[in-house]
């Protein structure tokens, strides 16, 4: 993106000056106490106050790019894309959001840009699970092994999701290729405007992917799926491969005889958290729900579901604070109020963020509900 004016034009954000409908649903606007931020206000700053002010505005980094605004927008404004453009320009002037977790995730992503780096990341493959070097299907693992190491204390599902995915794929007769030196897909770097790192990661990944004989890519991370399917072709190059989140693959697979009924009788009622990149971005709402019902569970929907789903509160490992925590608390309260025994999501970041909110000492008891990834739940039924 060359200039803010160009982004204002291409993303149609001038419509925001006469509207502001999205302020009522923006997860940041709703919970902002100190100061005020809304999509409309950011556009006003960009148009009215000039380039310098918007690039220096700390509120620029609060947007979760969750696309909730786009769902309610009457004027087809591409607000998330506008934010991404402006962040890219702001990065060029050395502005950035505040990294969470002491910046370790951004750091390991930057380290992965080095094409000579040789990782040691395949230790997670459990005995008995089959991978291949010649399959037409590639399983893109994402940062799961790293999240396992980084968030051990939160008791998250990390590589167990990857193993579950392999178990399911093997069950379908697929022995996927797994890349020995897969890099972070660069999703967070792209949405934070760090295009140098994003391009570096994408180029190494694309090279590694093209070296395989795969014709399609399966992921268990909605962000990886979106990035490989849309961001790579738009910015770096097209692998020409079909990209699917695992739930999309399962929706079009013949599951008869594969998934028996509910084996865990202690869990009957469940609720489902739509990840932004799978729901509002990719439009996959029913496939995960059909799979859950196929497992024999009753779905109790939260007040905000499908297109109106609430974001898990944080994105891109950046700018996490009290506003984000309030979103997480609200979401967990919604999940609990459904009376469900289990909160299912299809994105490991949703799980990390919500479990992080649960780990706080003050509301500990109030927010407790088991959280599982759909992948591991399905694998349990095989």
């Amino acid at each position: 993106m060359n200039s803010i004016m160009e982004s204002i034009q291409s993303n149609r954000v001038w419509f925001c000056l006469d509207c502001g409908k999205c302020s009522s649903v923006c997860p940041i606007t709703r919970h902002m106490v100190d100061g005020y931020s809304s999509p409309r206000l950011l556009v006003e700053t960009a148009i009215g106050n000039g380039e310098d002010e918007i690039l220096e505005d700390p509120l620029l980094w609060t947007c979760l790019t969750c696309k909730r605004c786009s769902e309610i927008c009457p004027s087809v404004v591409h607000f998330s894309e506008f934010i991404q453009d402006v962040r890219e320009l702001a990065r060029g002037q050395n502005h950035s959001g505040e990294c969470t977790h002491s910046g370790m995730i951004q750091t390991w992503s930057r380290m992965m840009v080095d094409p000579e780096m040789r990782q040691n990341r395949l230790g997670w493959v459990e005995e008995g699970l089959r991978v291949s070097t010649e399959s037409d299907t590639l399983y893109f693992v994402g940062c799961l092994p790293y999240y396992d190491a980084a968030f051990e204390k939160l008791n998250i599902e990390g590589v167990s999701i990857a193993n579950a995915a392999l178990k399911i794929l093997n069950h379908l007769g697929i022995e996927p290729v797994v890349l020995e030196d897969e890099r972070c897909c660069g999703h967070d770097q792209f949405w934070q405007g760090d295009m140098d790192t994003f391009r570096g990661l994408a180029e190494v990944n694309l090279g590694n992917i093209m070296d395989t004989e795969a014709k399609r890519i399966i992921t268990t991370c909605p962000e990886c799926a979106w990035t490989l399917k849309h961001t790579y072709p738009d910015t770096i190059g097209d692998s020409g491969m079909e990209v699917l989140h695992l739930t999309e693959l399962l929706a079009e697979s013949d599951l008869s005889g594969i998934i028996p009924g509910n084996q865990d009788s202690s869990i009957q009622k469940v609720t489902y958290q739509d990840p932004c990149r799978l729901g509002r971005y990719s439009g996959v709402y029913e496939a995960p729900r059909d799979l859950i019902m196929g497992l024999g569970y009753e779905i109790r929907e939260m007040d905000h579901n499908r297109k109106a789903s609430l974001c898990c509160g944080t994105s891109c490992w950046s700018s996490c604070g009290q506003v984000n925590k309030k979103n997480q608390v609200e979401r967990l309260r919604e999940a609990k109020s459904t009376g469900a025994d289990l909160l299912i999501t299809a994105c490991q970041k949703c799980q990390i963020h919500l479990k992080c909110a649960q780990s706080g000492p003050v509301l500990e008891g109030e927010l407790q509900i088991d959280i599982r990834d759909l992948t591991t739940l399905i694998a349990d039924h095989l």
Partner: protein, 130 residues
């Protein structure tokens, strides 16, 4: 072969050991760049990874034993960070020896020099094996 080694010390046992080594005119490798923290418990995996990102060949964490920590929980905290960082560095393809955690008695210059030199030798061996 030249190495770049980042040494994080706490303000207490480890740094007093470093100062004692200085006043006793003991020498240690010039490849070591010491950085003093108030307590090693303030280190994070992000800072450790950053050192490697910027080209460090090894990161050495030197502090107080658990019973001597001036902030009671610092030694325990750095132990957790150390293990988490080890796991991340292993995934990133680094060797276990490239990040080490140890402690010395307060003001013990000889012990400081000995431990630092051992760490440096370990890094140098690793590089000559490559």
């Amino acid at each position: 072969m030249d190495s770049k080694i980042i040494l994080f010390t706490c303000n207490w046992n480890a740094y007093s050991g470093l100062e004692a080594a200085g006043t006793e005119r003991m020498s240690y490798s010039p490849m070591v760049y010491p950085i003093r923290l108030s307590c090693l418990g303030r280190i994070t995996p992000g800072i450790i990874l950053k050192a490697f990102e910027k080209g460090a060949d090894g990161v050495y964490l030197l502090g107080c034993s658990e019973s001597e920590c001036h902030y009671q929980t610092g030694s325990h905290q750095v132990e957790e960070v150390y293990l988490e960082s080890q796991n991340l560095l292993t995934l990133l393809g680094y060797g276990k020896n490239q990040l080490q955690l140890d402690f010395i008695p307060t003001g013990d210059g000889a012990s400081f020099v000995e431990k630092v030199e051992n760490f440096v030798n370990g890094i140098q061996d690793l590089q000559s094996d490559k």
